[in-house]
């Protein structure tokens, strides 16, 4: 089980701030997770935008980053300061 957090405007796309998910075994990279979730939420690519970054256990990951040992995954739209 993995906690997935959707920050900023992405929470409106997904309809939730965070959720706990059982991710299928074949979804093994951050990039695969983007595609799987984008389809699941019918987000029309909102989760695929290159400006949306993924953090795995509070560290920025890339599309090829493995989800092994991931306990918290965050989808982060561009940050704009406070």
């Amino acid at each position: 089980m993995v906690k997935v957090i959707y920050f900023g405007r992405l929470s409106e796309v997904t309809g939730t701030d965070e959720e706990v998910l059982d991710i299928p075994e074949d979804v093994s990279t951050a990039g695969a997770l983007r595609h799987w979730l984008d389809l699941r939420f019918e987000a029309n690519g909102a989760l695929l935008e290159p400006t949306v970054r993924i953090a795995i256990n509070s560290k920025i990951g890339f599309d090829e980053t493995s989800l092994n040992n991931a306990s918290e995954i965050a989808f982060m739209p561009p940050v704009g300061g406070g």
Partner: protein, 153 residues
């Protein structure tokens, strides 16, 4: 000291504590950022700030370390609000102390540029038209870019 929390910020009280600690420094600069009552999209009823605690704080820590590397600072105090705020409430308070007033000014300016452009926050503004997530503005990036090109004394 860095604090990111949804507690109200009392800037004058924070300045008083900082000045007590920094009474040997000579020069103290503070910046207070408050929620403006007006934005591009009209009257602001509330501003909501979301942080990603560990990443937000470690980002601010890195900016602070960079400031300490660049300028001779006696101390720095950073308070940043999260959650829902109303117009006039304080979003951010930064205070810097140094023996040199130029260092205190430049470090506060540098930290504010980081906090206003690169810090890990997402911002939602509520106006009579509804709630909108605010994306980064170009002008903010230009402010932060100053520190890459400018000669720093």
């Amino acid at each position: 000291m860095i604090r990111v929390s949804d507690e109200t910020i009392d800037a004058p009280k924070a300045l008083a504590a900082f000045e007590r600690d920094m009474s040997d420094a000579g020069a103290i600069v503070s910046f207070t950022g408050q929620v403006r009552p007006q934005s591009a999209s009209g009257e602001v009823s509330t501003l909501f700030l979301q942080a990603y605690s560990l990443m937000t704080e470690s980002g601010i820590e890195s900016a602070l370390a960079e400031a300490q590397r660049r300028w001779p600072l006696s101390g720095v105090h950073i308070l940043h609000r999260t959650g829902e705020m109303r117009a006039g409430e304080t979003i951010v308070f930064v205070a810097t102390a140094s023996k040199h007033r130029r260092a205190a000014f430049e470090a506060a300016d540098f930290l504010m540029d980081y906090l206003k452009t690169e810090a890990v926050f997402w911002k939602k503004e509520t106006t009579p038209d509804g709630a909108t997530w605010i994306e980064p503005r170009q002008g903010d990036y230009q402010d932060a870019a100053r520190w890459q090109t400018e000669k720093v004394e």
